[in-house]
Amino acid sequence: MSTSNDEPLMRIGKVNFGGIVKEVNLAYTPEAKVGDYVIVHVGFAISTLDEKEANQVFEYLEQMGELEELKDFQP
């Protein structure tokens, strides 16, 4: 993503959707900066993707597996 226009409500970003680049309004993601991933709905970014949380679905699965193993080892 790259950005232009400094007026907060009119701030526009160029967002690459797997190869297709579209202009997106960034009024609701003032924190979004170049290189971020954003979730876009009808021309507006509605959130900046939290990259620290992006693996949560896999970490949860791993923890679940470890718990299962612990259970199996109990006498």
């Binding site: 797997g18 309004n25 009024a27 003032p30 021309g43 507006f44 993707l49 939290d50 679940m64």
Partner: protein, 373 residues
């Protein structure tokens, strides 16, 4: 593509499915609220991975489907006026009113245009000062910030020839209506991840407590949905009732504050009729007084008339999770995406369209379960 493909990993999906099967001891019925989730579930065959004890029913989260027929009639009336450019999201154009749809109006010479964003409609108004440009503002909380911004900008830029036909709806009152209904069978909810991205999930906490249902805010990819189901079933099995957040990469508890602020500035909460369901108190958004000049109903002096629905369409039952699309006698025969009787067969978020597109030639198989990716 980053942050998409990894959430469709077949091996991880299998692990989640196995974990859900080990966890489940009793029959449970869950509802995914959002039509986007319904499509992902049917497209990827997520429901076919689940143990038989788990039933998924599909919720009302399809904005096009729940837009009342009276509003379709109003849209057709405005779009038929000379000097009007009528703009809408594409799905809305083929939704049947009583006699015709918006595409028919276009075919008979009306200037009906499909837009990607409400800001495109505002731009059309600025480029065509001699025309009245009307945008059909339908949607849930996810779309409200975009539509609010179009009105806000029109107001502040003094665009006088722009207005909106507003038929916005809100998710939490619809969930309450489903839970309060005597025919309800929903025991746990997968809440809509993008609605909660905007609104957060504090509104759901009193609903979970009052109706004793677990609610898990869930994303849209197969693994998100499987994890959401796991978390929801775990609560049910353990007798817990909480609001949990599966979709942490997008949803924060308090939601998107700047977006909520603009929604509150431009919109106020009003009663709203839902197609197939009926009126639900405090379940819609209308324009606030300072922005009332952008209300197309007022500008065009439209009156609400009660309109009869096609008697054969069971959209209302489908939208409340009481019936599944293929249980409708008209499904795939007298009702198809080409000749729809009701909106759920038209919309890209409609449950009937999902079943028609992904399941018609491939009935659910219980013996050989596999994830189609």
């Amino acid at each position: 593509m980053k942050y998409i493909d990894e959430y469709r990993d077949a091996e991880a999906a299998k692990k989640y499915a196995d974990a859900i099967a080990r966890l489940t001891t009793k029959p449970w019925t869950l509802m995914e609220v959002c039509g986007g989730q319904t499509h992902a579930i049917v497209k990827f065959g997520v429901d076919e991975l689940l143990p038989e004890k788990i039933t998924l029913v599909h919720g009302p989260g399809c904005p096009v489907c729940v837009t009342p027929i009276e509003f379709i009639e109003k849209a057709i009336e405005i779009a038929s006026c000379p000097g009007v450019i009528f703009c809408s999201f594409g799905d809305m154009l083929r939704v049947p009113g009583t006699g015709k749809d918006l595409l028919t109006v276009k075919a008979s010479g009306g200037d009906v245009r499909m837009v990607y964003s409400p800001l495109d409609a505002l731009k059309l108004a600025q480029q065509n000062p001699m025309k009245q440009v009307v945008f059909f503002a339908v949607g849930f909380e996810t779309t409200a910030p975009a539509n609010a911004m179009a009105v806000y900008q029109a107001h502040h830029q003094g665009v006088k020839n722009f207005s909106m036909l507003v038929s916005h709806v809100l998710v939490p009152p619809a969930m309450e209506a489903i839970l309060a209904s005597p025919s309800n069978r929903v025991q746990g909810f997968l809440a809509a991840g993008h609605v909660c991205t905007v609104m957060g999930y504090t509104e759901y906490e009193p609903i979970a407590t009052k109706y004793h249902v677990p609610i898990v805010v869930t994303g849209f990819e197969p693994l998100d949905i499987l994890q959401g189901i796991y978390m929801c079933v775990k609560q049910l099995e353990e007798g817990r009732v909480e609001v949990e957040n599966q979709y942490t990469r997008s949803v924060r508890r308090e939601g998107n504050q700047p977006a909520q602020q603009l929604i509150r500035e431009v919109f106020r909460i009003v009663p709203r009729k839902w197609r197939g369901i009926g009126e639900i108190a405090q379940s819609g958004l209308g324009l606030t007084l300072p922005y009332a000049e952008f209300d197309a109903e007022l500008r065009f002096g439209l009156k609400t008339q009660t309109v009869e629905e096609s008697s054969e369409c069971i959209a209302g039952l489908v939208l409340q999770g009481v019936k599944k699309p293929h249980e409708c006698p008209a499904f795939g025969t007298r009702c198809t995406p080409e000749r729809p009787l009701g909106a759920p067969m038209v919309s890209s978020e409609g449950a009937c369209a999902a079943y028609y597109r992904y399941r018609r030639l491939r009935p659910p198989v219980s013996s050989s379960k596999g994830l189609s990716l």
